[in-house]
Amino acid sequence: MINSGTIRLEHPRLDADALGPFRFGRIAGKVLLTHDTGEWHFLSEEDFQALLAGQLTIGHPEQPALVAKGFLREGMDAEAVAERFRRKKRWLGMGPHLHVVITTLRCNQACKYCHASRTDMDRVDTDMSLETARKVVDAALQSPSPYIAFEYQGGEPTVNFDVIRFMVQYSREKNRYENKTVEHSLVTNMTTMTEEIGEWLLANDVLLCTSLDGPKHVHDWNRPHTGSTSGTYDQVMHWIQWFNRRYVEMGRDPNLWHVDALMTTTRKSVENWKEIIDLYVSLGIRNIYLRPLNPFGFITKTWKQVGNDMPEFMAFYEEALDYIIELNRQGVQIIEGNAAIFLKKMLTPDDPNFVDIRSPIGAGTGQIAYNYDGRIFPSDEGRMIDAMGNPMFELGRLGELSIGDAIRHPTVRSMAVASLLDSLPQCSECWNAPYCGVRPLHNYMQGKDLFGQRPNTPKCKQHMGIARLLFERLAADSDGSLDRIFQRWTIQRPRETAPGPATND
């Protein structure tokens, strides 16, 4: 049967020449305006219609804020807008600051979602050599970025600890001539940690991050040992507590110096979200980063067993976020990592330069990944795709390709074009564009297309979902109490090294 009819549409009156550039969306019964500079403003529907019609003029209570934020043309200070925009994008042209180093692919765990494509412990051929490690340092310090962060990953990176020790020492020596700020961080499962290694890491200010997926029954289910059903929870807990105790004994501020932890959200995690947060709080961890599964590595084979789709993840995320906010209202100092990234963009004049949530993406221009064999990738995700048998994102080899060549590589340019929100369908007009970032390699893994179709990409649902949740809560924040909490989440205090020996060989 065929039905037909008409829809009556009343177009709003529009005096476009009275307006500044903005994007808009409807959130929490209000109209949200956002600006390239990250400024935003809520209007009632009635005031929005007045704005469009050019009737929101001097004398209207919203007018001064709308002028100051660049939403109204009359009185707009274009130079100030340019300065704010420059500050937001100041990382453009700085070059890669994050240098991911795969010291080995060997690992003694068989995590159900392993993104890294680990190998067995006897595969010493997947260890990075000292010669390659030296080339990594030489290359990384060629980056124009004044800040260099070496991030050691694997496999389990401590299995090849000599390389880490060498890179920390050699980069320190080399940096005497470069005068950059150089940091080292180790992402470890803690299973091969010893007190000797631990003391060396502490003495050399190597930051520590481990995987902690939640209480024992969750963590051990997600992260068993190779060839066993036993997990690593007890070891992780032991070493978190050992390091945190040692930081205090060294006189370090535990708010700044402590083991950070990452969790990956499987089906098991979703069922136990409150226990996971309580565990992090009990360990004094100040930042819980609720991460969905990524479509790389072994997870592509185990998704049916452990995976969850994005609507399920976002339902979990909303419950967890509200619980974390409630804990903050009770005086507990814990933040959610994704929210903190978005809030820094929304509530401060700066951008955290988080390489995966920026426009364009940081692959190759903010981040470089070095495989154990000396091959260079624009990001660890590109390296992960290579480990799955597809070398498409390899940029070249250490010793043959300079960092400048890497930044200008056609593959890096392609990824930049595919993640420049101003040129992407839907993103270019989306209210979330000033805060968002797309992941071309996620798109590639899902549809063999760097660009993807935005409504079909889980990352779009995740990023827009998170930003919407935050704006909904800010819209309902009548007494400013949530704003004060969120402002605290955007503050990053610098770590200061306590006096003492620089090395402990």
Partner: protein
């Protein structure tokens, strides 16, 4: 097809015709009211739920047909038509505001990225290095790595 008439000063009232057959719904749009960019933008938002077809129905007339990927019903199709119509309103605004403010955006972006105060950090670093006397280099760690002079470990 669309019937439009000016109502109040500057405002426009339009009637969009829809047709559905239980499996798909089609709306016919007047391009003089709904620019192609607005039609593309609105239709694109449905690609996760529907197969989207666009066809030229006549001079400046475009048909947008939505065929849901899953089960459907007349009520659901009529709701989709309403949703698309609402989104068309938003997209027309976005296109018109974007057109009107394009030069302002281009101006502040040019000022942000190309004015003298944005001299790249690379240039600054190079200038600093030129002025700097490097200390003794017994380990030869200043040798550019790509020349292969810093090998060995």
């Amino acid at each position: 097809m669309s019937d439009s008439s000016p109502e109040t000063e500057g405002a426009l009232v339009d009637e969009i015709r829809w047709v559905e057959d239980g499996t798909r719904v089609a709306l016919t749009l007047d391009e003089s009211i709904y620019p192609m960019d607005a039609i593309y933008g609105a239709a694109y938002l449905f690609v996760d739920r529907c197969y989207v077809f666009l066809s030229r129905e006549g001079d400046r007339m475009v048909e947008v047909r939505l065929k849901p990927k899953g089960e459907s019903s007349s009520a659901a199709l009529q709701a989709l038509a309403g949703e698309l119509a609402n989104e068309l309103l938003n997209q027309v605004l976005r296109v018109r505001i974007g057109d009107s403010t394009r030069k302002i955006r281009e101006y502040y972006m040019a000022r942000a990225f190309f004015s003298t105060s944005t001299q790249s950090s690379i240039d600054q670093l190079l200038a600093e290095l030129d002025q700097e006397e490097l200390a003794e280099d017994e380990l030869e760690i200043q040798v550019p790595w790509e020349t292969g002079g810093a090998g060995g470990g």
